[in-house]
Symmetry: C2
């Protein structure tokens, strides 16, 4: 066993125990039991330094972010997370880095109750490959493609904080303690697993906002073969966005990604029941627009003027 | 959509269709149906240039090898392959390279009847992340840990050809056409999926030989808490090994990896039935030794002398 295989000792015992894992790390492959009458949901991501994170970030935050941005894709399908594999390529064996990184993985998989079921460690340029697994009862899966004309568009929380933090990496214009606060939105996203039960019941389509509301709502519309009309005034701007970037606040919220809030649609006939359920669940969401026939996204500004939104997202660090 | 997201167009339509894929590439995650009364089997690998392959190899071969070495892990659990995800990190968009690489992926997933269900493409140093999924009926899963004292040890085919090819990369001593022949063992491994039905029925433990018979049989023994006795004369040396590396042939077969044959154990009481079934299935295997109490691997040479085998494997290109 070489030193890179030994790396796995950092991850061997951090996994929450789950009874559906018949065999975890240590054999040729993992053996897993999917719950009867459930659909398996799988998403895979690779994270590269300078694209998805900066190498100077705390390793535990890099790890948390790698796990949670992948888990956000499960939430967007209405799936409860259950397992994860980690393929880690590292330029060198740095014990201090590894201890902190594995602590971040541990915290994230514990928070989401996922078992770490396998992995691979290799020598090479830093690359973090995460595959996450979730399950959802038959017929309760939610796709991007289910939105229909007339459906109401919601967003699960404030937008723009992570993009403001990215912006501030360059111009460093935000004083403490707001700087730390805003930066935590970028480093420490929380996938909206709390929305899963309500989405399964009411949502016609869901997407997670990783590239920006404009780009991701456009993905949803393209998949559903519909268009959308957004009310500019209804877009939930993060309070710190209004404090530090008034002039650009709407643009940052529309085109800045990395918030990992969910954007979803609910049929108009169900909205009243849905909002009652939201209130009962102690959640809060923002009604931002309506699905319409056609294609593309129209945005209605404060003067009731309509313009077509460019579906571009942020290029992270490029 | 940036150019790296567009890369996925190379892979979008190459996947075999499967009815158990409810939703493949294109949403936040894939939706999959696991067969009732089957265990899900998952293995993940990342392949790095200079460690698992050389960048000057034909892209289609790099792709084939990346898929098939991962699939070999499924065979070692008795699992039939069904799905795959591909996380591809590339330094640049090289259309010619991508076309050839996707052709290699296509050939491999077609040969193994796996659907490509998801992926991710990112800019960065070349890294190929493959996660493969298989299924096996309940109770027919085979682990490394099931070998018991008295079980007979088998190998599914000739060993050493791939390691000889690796060796020849350095000293280039083998003339054509044997050079091409031997090299194809390294570039184009065939995972032994043909053995799955028999292994499910008869094997007490299985491992695939990626690091070398010595190292991998040792993994099996450690997992099973047993030792092994190998008959040196019984080790199936590849014919070209005997032709070009007589003096080192046994060492290359023992310590050279990358053949992706299977090493497995069968309880002594079942061996007769097993061998009859092997013959009926038109397969061929080699009986190489016996599982014993204790730990470590003893090898019995032609003079009936016993020595302890060092469980080391090859370091590929280091």
């Amino acid at each position: 066993m070489n030193e890179f295989e030994l790396i796995y000792s950092y991850f061997r015992d951090i996994s929450p125990k789950r009874s559906d894992v018949l065999l975890g790390i240590g054999d040729d492959a993992a053996l897993l039991r999917v719950e009867p009458n459930h659909t398996l949901v799988v998403s895979t991501d690779s994270m590269v330094s300078g694209v998805h994170f900066l190498s100077q970030w705390p390793p535990a935050d890099i790890a948390w972010r790698a796990v949670m941005t992948a888990v956000s894709d499960l939430a967007a399908m209405g799936a409860t997370p259950c397992w994860m594999t980690l393929a880690l390529t590292l330029p060198e064996v740095d014990c201090e880095w590894l201890a902190d990184f594995s602590r971040g993985i541990s915290t994230a998989i514990s928070a989401t109750e996922m078992a770490l079921i396998g992995g691979d460690t290799t020598k090479g340029p830093l690359n973090i490959g995460v595959t996450v697994f979730g399950q959802v009862p038959f017929q309760q899966e939610i796709k991007r493609s289910g939105a229909r004309s007339g459906d109401i568009i919601f967003v699960s929380g404030y937008l723009g904080a992570a993009a403001l933090a990215l912006k501030n990496l360059k111009n460093n214009a935000i004083p403490e303690p707001d700087n730390t606060k805003i930066f935590s939105h970028l480093l420490h996203p929380y996938p909206r697993l709390d929305w899963i039960p309500l989405l399964r019941r009411y949502a016609s389509a869901v997407i997670d906002i990783s590239d920006g509301l404009s780009a991701d709502l456009n993905h949803l519309c393209v998949s559903s073969q519909v268009g959308a009309r957004l009310e500019q005034e209804a877009i939930p701007l993060h309070p710190l966005l209004k404090k530090y970037a008034v002039a650009e606040a709407v643009d940052i919220a529309l085109f800045g990604g990395d918030d990992y809030e969910l954007c979803f649609t609910v049929p108009a006939t169900q909205v009243q029941d849905f909002l009652a359920a939201v209130s009962l669940a102690n959640l809060h969401c923002f009604q931002v627009g309506t699905i319409i026939d056609g294609a593309g996204i129209q945005i209605i500004d404060e003067q009731k003027n309509s313009k077509t939104l460019e579906p571009r997202g942020y290029q992270h660090f490029n």
